[in-house]
Symmetry: C2
Subunit: 327 residues, 2 copies
Amino acid sequence: MEQQTSKELLKQIHAYIESLPYSHEPKGLYDPIEYVLGLGGKRLRPVLMLLAYNLFKEDVQAIFSQAAAIETYHNFTLLHDDLMDKADMRRGKPTVHKKWDENTAILSGDAMLILSFQFMMQGCPVEYTHQVMDIFSRTALEVCDGQQWDMEFESREDVTVDEYMEMIRLKTSVLLAGALKIGAVLGGASEKDAQLLYDFGIQIGLAFQLQDDYLDVYGDPLVFGKNIGGDILCNKKTFMLITALEKSDDKTRASLQEWLKAEDYVPAQKIEAVTAIYNKVGLQNICRDKINEYYHEGMRLLKEVNVEEEYKKNLSDFVMSLMERNL
Amino acid sequence: MEQQTSKELLKQIHAYIESLPYSHEPKGLYDPIEYVLGLGGKRLRPVLMLLAYNLFKEDVQAIFSQAAAIETYHNFTLLHDDLMDKADMRRGKPTVHKKWDENTAILSGDAMLILSFQFMMQGCPVEYTHQVMDIFSRTALEVCDGQQWDMEFESREDVTVDEYMEMIRLKTSVLLAGALKIGAVLGGASEKDAQLLYDFGIQIGLAFQLQDDYLDVYGDPLVFGKNIGGDILCNKKTFMLITALEKSDDKTRASLQEWLKAEDYVPAQKIEAVTAIYNKVGLQNICRDKINEYYHEGMRLLKEVNVEEEYKKNLSDFVMSLMERNL
């Protein structure tokens, strides 16, 4: 069976998404959708879906609509999350509520969500429709649950590591897992293999998010693509901060809490001071170990999928490339 | 074949919607959904769907999930529209963004939209799934198009009656039409009958919306359930206002435009003056005639549906009761 690399698949799905006929009336509704989908990004979710499908079947173009659906859904969440978070920029460009206005962001997002369901149905073989739509709608709801927890955590001081991991499972992992499972189901995978790929996606998603948390503190700004310390400056309750609060001694915790409450400070000083506390607590290793744990558990699950080992190479290479990018 | 009246169907679908297990974690996301769906309303769309189904089949409970889906979708649009319109009250209760906050309104609305797709799939017979989901997603997108036009019309001075009719077709009619068509498809109707019921819904929806515009000016406040003149006070571009601007002579139009631009006025005086202009233009009859035209065209289409005339009685009685309520 012919296998395609993530790069080959990315090129095709990118072209497919670009070719989607978004541009129609009313322009005030569809221009922002075209804009958001045109901002690019790694197309991680559709590529994962196609790689999973390609473990079982060759004709990846048969599920381009489903792959575009998952990307459209993901971009819908970015659009509405940016509005709720009042974020001004996304991928170096103004967000929709900044470039247009808040009502445009609400309604264009709604239309994108509907389009994602439309694309997911389009050309979906009848024998898989119920299963695919069940996975998709359950996953989509869970992503909303995750966003809700994330917002609620902002005003809470007692978030535990377990709660945080559950939040990122919902907000980040389930969509990667759902993409993989839908790809597998459409590829005709057994229920067991489809579930293994889902579970693989959960572990990999947790590893990715922890890596993001880690890189905000210890990343190379040139490689990371964002400024270092952004999470620290806005007191974001990441794995790093929650673990530091849990593991530090009373004196260190008090000092960390001072920085969280501080209103007048030099940004670079806050980043330096908080990073010093993280170092003292040993967070660099704690977080690396945790990332490796999830990553290896994911790879173990992938090994169990009942297809020839060599077929899995593109998928494992892709995930590895995303993990090694910065660590 | 056993036929049920709209009242019997309303009671059942109301109970079904009340029994839906919305209440789960995170409460901050699902409590507002329960709240919105608990506000009641006429459940017009699900009742229409069940009545259409009941033209062809008896076991209406087989499509309660689809009926709940269309109501959930409709309530999602109310939730997000109220946010976009900054409306404080809905059915005599505070709107979600007032009772909670804007982010809650955005995210709970998103979750409702996803739930509506989930309910629409649930228990949908495989042979109808693609058709039902196609109608639903196309309709849902068209409702967004309608809302977009409605918002764009607010800042335009040159909206024509044709443009207005197209906007209310999208914003109001297609969802009634879609509900009827989905009911018909699930009932096993022929393509022709399903389309006739759709077209019937379009005409009836236009009649309903024009009636709403009419009643805002000429309604009995006790029966109408809203204050009279609300549209006049906020310069809403209804059929009444657009037609008055089109049909009045230069002097009357100038006087109407003065009132539209006026900033300091006694509300009752503005309502009285604008109503006097409407009377002068003969709008009471123009609008009534237009309503009757759409209503009778709808009824003509219903007559063409290929089922025994007596089966249609519940559906035509229901629509008639909604029309006669106030005219």
